[in-house]
Symmetry: C2
Subunit: 341 residues, 2 copies
């Protein structure tokens, strides 16, 4: 029962080269050589090879197989479980990819042979979203599931904004403010009211000129809308503040309002992780929050009180802007725990 490589190869369905390779890496070293140097495999070698093939068929690497065969492993079931999990991960990944490809394929199916450019642009957008959002987030991001209606809605909003800008309408104009409010409400809806999603979306728009181009939202437009939104809120606060307070706030608020979204996002994440309000991380966020408030409202507690009253009484300030009741409550507790400074 001495087999030469060729014979063993034929019997096992492997190639001679493969057996050479196994020899080289010490996985299966034939226990004999002929005088001429031919590899001679004995029954025990063949048995080992069968085990190797068995384990290979489970997708194990040659290194792992060698380790497993050479010393009695602690737990074989554990090995299998690992293999299963890895396989399931791969399958999940590939299924996702396939679904996406199929969707893409359908999208361009009617309307024969799309232009290369349209094609790639769509693809690029998809990969952009991939870079800024996790798959779970994408699932929760309505903007990503963009149906035609949503597209049209946004096109209209953008068009209006551009028109106002072209006409030189200032951001504190009533029309601009109304547009900004609608814009923000739509945006809130399309980010599922999640400030984390909003924040990432903002980051994406800020960093990727191509996204701006594709969506049609230039940096100017978004800045204009932001300012108009700020003005719409200022207009409300004005009714609660005296002249001096309002003048102060009017100067500072528009510059600092960009800082809300990331702060809200972080707060929301802590809330969802169930971090208690007195935890250091949350306390830090509360401090930053107060800091931001002071930066445009000054240090006078009386002013702060007025702003709080406005927030409570004005429906326009209550609605929307990614602040839920739970968030307000959580923030309130965190602030209450802050040592008086």
């Amino acid at each position: 029962m001495l087999l030469r490589v060729g014979e063993l190869a034929k019997r096992t369905g492997l190639t001679v080269r493969t057996l050479h390779h196994y020899d080289e890496i010490g996985l299966l070293v034939p226990s004999m050589r002929s005088d001429a140097g031919y590899r001679l495999y004995r029954r025990q070698d063949v048995a080992r090879l069968h085990r190797i093939q068995a384990l290979r068929s489970l997708g194990m690497s040659l290194a792992d197989i060698g380790a497993l065969l050479d010393r009695p492993s602690p737990s074989l079931t554990a090995v299998i479980e690992r293999q299963i999990q890895e396989l399931e991960r791969k399958i999940a990944d590939q299924s996702l990819l396939r679904d996406r490809l199929v969707a893409l394929h359908q999208q361009f199916e009617n309307g024969d042979e799309p232009e290369m450019d349209d094609w790639l642009k769509t693809l690029e957008m998809m990969t952009m979203y991939d870079r800024y959002f996790t798959p779970q987030e994408l699932d929760r991001l309505p903007l990503y599931q963009a149906d035609d209606e949503r597209q049209i809605e946004w096109k209209a909003l953008i068009g209006e904004a551009e028109a106002l800008m072209r006409q030189g309408v200032p951001p504190d104009d009533r029309a601009a403010q109304e547009l900004a409010k609608r814009w923000m409400m739509t945006l809130e809806r399309d980010t599922a009211g999640d400030p984390t999603l909003l924040d990432k979306l903002n980051a994406m728009h800020a960093n990727e000129p191509e996204v701006q181009a594709q969506m049609g939202i230039s940096a100017q437009v978004s800045e204009y809308v932001m300012q108009a939104f700020a003005q719409s809120k200022l207009a409300i606060y004005q009714r609660y503040l005296n002249e001096e307070e309002f003048a102060f706030m009017r100067q500072r608020y528009p510059q600092r309002m960009h800082e809300w979204p990331p702060l809200m996002a972080k707060l929301r994440q802590q809330l969802e992780q169930g971090t208690p309000p007195q935890a250091p991380a949350v306390q830090q966020l509360a401090r930053e929050w107060l800091e931001l408030l002071r930066s445009f409202a000054g240090d006078d507690p009386a002013t702060h009180e007025k702003i709080r009253r406005a927030n409570e009484q004005e429906p326009a300030l209550q609605a929307s802007v990614w602040m839920t009741e739970r968030m307000k409550e959580y923030l309130g507790k965190a602030i209450a725990y802050l040592p008086a400074s």
Copy 2:
């Protein structure tokens, strides 16, 4: 808008090494270098990189991407379709593997920590079957889905055969013949009556000592059963033949009967492929069939006629042995088309 590698890497989520690599293979060569040799990427380079990333996210190889971007490909949808198909193949393969692993895992789940050897033996058997049968065949092979009942049944049959052999009972003994008939019927059932499966199973048993050991069917046992089966058929034919004819047949039949299964398998495959009986391949098989018949029945047409009559009238010859009515009819036609020689 000139970016250095590090910056571009950061913005795209790639590594510097990856960008170097793309440069090396000519996929993305920065359109500028600084005086110090630093790679400088312009807007157009960034755009190209975005496209590269988009296509990569579809699972395309760098080579393919390069080809696609450098000349306008004929059909992009075709590319995607290819990707989808490849993905589905991979997914199918991996799902199969996972199912198998899960099954294996469950098999050993109860009965804490199995012995490495049992483990590997089971696995080895699985890979053996894999080598001799296609996945579709395995699906159709009842023996492979071996439940406990089947196992016990075969253990019993093998035990009986071994006992008879030990006791020195000759294959032409009544008891041996009865056992052989039951054996063949069980085997027919467990190969789903498909001679192709039978043939491959035989090949596996003949070539793989380990399979014999695992199943407990030694070459001696299977030869004994074969001979007993031959004797059981001879006993029937005897009633139709004269003494001389039977003496001739008795001498030859046991030696040649091994040749039936492969011949039946080939014939069945032709039948299933819908090959007409007058096709050369089928004609060749018919010739071989007649040749085999002559080899143990002699050249006298009268003898052949007697055998045919026996086959028609004897239920024991009708039943089983992997010959269906359709097969008989097909073979009959093929023989009828043979030029008289």
